[in-house]
């Protein structure tokens, strides 16, 4: 087990290194959620709209980033570096877990950036709740990242498949989680779909937690949903990685 941890650390730090070497590439990719904050949030009614909107946007940026991360593996499968790593004694689960864990880092950076930008505009930060919110989000983005890598592994030699599936799933997940507009006023079927979307519970939990409401039922639901996505991602991802060649 300790050697699995050591192998995971090797993969994790390899994945993280380009990010550390060239932080601007990450900062640049984080600009997108800021457009939603700048160009969409002002359209929302009510004074406390920012308080409602910002946690959702943090989850959204995690969804965008983590779901795309498989494309890095896809590229490494084409160039040959994935193959090179498969011939090393690194344990197969580590090849996936190390990569998926790395997703936490850009997620934290994005969350910090979004909060920093929003506080001057009246966003109230409740630190304790926010930190617990980030723990939940970490589980969620590990799972999303792992699923994205799984998709990459099964799209070997067919990048179009990766992008088609990723793009097809991205917006339903986002819209049904009620990130941009509340679901409560929607028709019944839409609410039913929303309840089937694990991201809904994560978004609800983040909203409560970022408002300092730690002991809400939504916190537990969010934790369970994020843990379920995280676990599911790792299980299917490790299985896919073991079959990779």
């Amino acid at each position: 087990m300790t050697s699995l941890v050591a192998d995971t650390r090797v993969v994790f730090s390899r994945e993280l290194r380009p990010v550390i070497r060239d932080p601007f590439s990450v900062i640049f990719s984080m600009v997108q959620p800021l457009f939603f904050l700048g160009l969409f949030a002002p359209l929302l009614p009510g004074d406390s709209s920012l308080q409602w909107f910002v946690p959702g946007i943090i989850v959204m940026s995690c969804l965008f980033g983590s779901s795309m991360t498989g494309s890095n593996l896809l590229f490494e499968m084409q160039t040959g570096s994935h193959e090179r790593m498969l011939v090393t004694p690194l344990r197969r689960p580590a090849l996936l877990i190390g990569r998926a864990l790395k997703e936490i880092v850009p997620m934290l950076a994005q969350a910090a950036l979004i909060v920093a930008v929003c506080v001057p505009f009246g966003f109230e930060l409740h630190l304790g709740g926010a930190l617990l919110g980030l723990v939940i989000l970490a589980g969620f983005c590990i799972g999303l990242g792992a699923l994205s890598y799984t998709l990459a592994l099964s799209s070997k030699n067919r990048d179009w498949m990766f992008w088609t599936v990723q793009q097809t799933l991205l917006f339903p997940l986002l819209l049904l989680a009620g990130v941009l507009l509340p679901i409560e006023n929607g028709p019944g079927w839409l609410q039913a779909l929303s309840k089937a979307n694990p991201m809904t519970y994560v978004v609800n939990a983040e909203r409560a937690l970022f408002n300092g409401d730690v002991w809400a039922r939504s916190t537990a639901e969010g934790l369970v949903a994020a843990a379920a996505v995280g676990l599911l991602g790792l299980v299917v991802g490790v299985r896919a990685m073991k079959r990779s060649d």
């Binding site: 160039t79 040959g80 570096s81 004694p89």
Partner: protein, 311 residues
């Protein structure tokens, strides 16, 4: 070092590798030669634990490639057809994480990386992003990564494909030197005849997933093709007489004789028959392949894209 029995790989209906029995001793430098799609890379991929065989058995460095993958992986180095270093990474970083992947501690991995960077002439580019390196530089980095843990057995899959002649020569020199200095066992695949001819002391010719010949380049040529000695005479009449005495085939004022040692025969006949000209044509490995299969390796090598066929 390598022992396979009836090693077989089927991809759906295609028998990519069809019952290969191969045994490689410690310290050998073996080239697997064959046209694209012959099964060379598939064989290599099974020996390096990348894909499981459909049937048959293979032991590499003393361990089973299916049941003891980790033991095999710890002992071999592999340089694939692609580039091993991630394009967004720096060369030195990749070398160090490669060393860590083999269980080296950071200081040891760093020291070994420095050593390889120096010996492969990568000093100026090791701190640059891999995507900015030239093809030859990337290939040298690949070699450095394959050697980070000083493996006793090194596999190279089409190592010089896509390199210009100068870089190809450079690469071959590194491989030969590596063997001379460390006694590393080396198995490489190639469809470059000259490469197999000049580097390997043992060439395994593969076609349609089977081994069709296995020997030193010299003996392959002598056994399957032979040298051709062409003696020129002043007249067809003289040539006719020479053909009667020495054997061989007369063509006008020329006599052609096939021999497994052309230069020696030529020297002998030069004295006894007094021809006006002598030419000795030594066969290439392509002639060997042509004799064995009726096809030339050369046309194949130029018309097909290796990555597409053997992926």
């Amino acid at each position: 070092m390598i022992e396979t029995r009836e090693l077989t790989k089927h991809f759906k209906e295609v028998r990519a590798v069809d019952g290969v029995d191969l045994s490689v001793a410690r310290g050998e430098l073996v080239a697997l030669l064959g046209p694209n799609g012959a099964g060379k890379s598939t064989t290599l991929r099974m020996l390096t634990t990348l894909i499981p065989p459909t049937s048959g058995h293979a032991e590499v460095a003393g361990f089973d490639v299916v049941r003891q993958q980790r033991e095999v992986r710890l002992r071999i180095g592999y340089i694939g057809q692609g580039n091993g270093a991630g394009h967004s990474q720096r060369g030195r970083d990749e070398l160090i994480s490669q060393g860590r992947a083999y269980g080296m501690r950071v200081p040891a991995a760093r020291a070994r990386a420095d050593e390889l960077i120096a010996s492969l002439g990568l000093g100026e580019v090791a701190n640059r992003a891999v995507s900015t390196l030239s093809g030859g530089q990337r290939r040298r980095l690949d070699i450095a990564m394959g050697l980070i843990h000083a493996p006793e057995l090194l596999f190279l899959d089409e190592p010089s494909t896509g390199l210009d002649p100068q870089n190809r020569a450079n690469l071959q020199e590194h491989i030969v030197r590596l063997r001379a200095e460390h006694g590393t066992t080396i198995v490489l695949t190639t469809h470059y005849l000259e490469e197999a001819d000049s580097m390997a002391e043992r060439v395994v010719v593969i076609d349609h997933g089977r081994i069709i010949a296995d020997d030193t380049p010299q003996r392959l040529k002598a056994t399957h093709v032979g040298d051709r000695v062409i003696l020129g005479f002043a007249s067809a009449h003289e040539a006719g007489e020479a053909a009667r005495t020495a054997g061989g085939e007369q063509r006008g004022a020329e006599v052609r004789i096939t021999s497994d040692d052309g230069p020696r025969l030529a020297a002998r006949l030069a004295g006894s028959l007094a021809p006006v000209s002598i030419e000795v044509i030594r066969p290439t490995l392509d002639d060997v392949f042509l004799t064995l299969t009726g096809r030339s390796l050369r046309e194949d090598a130029t018309t097909l894209e290796p990555a597409l066929v053997e992926a």
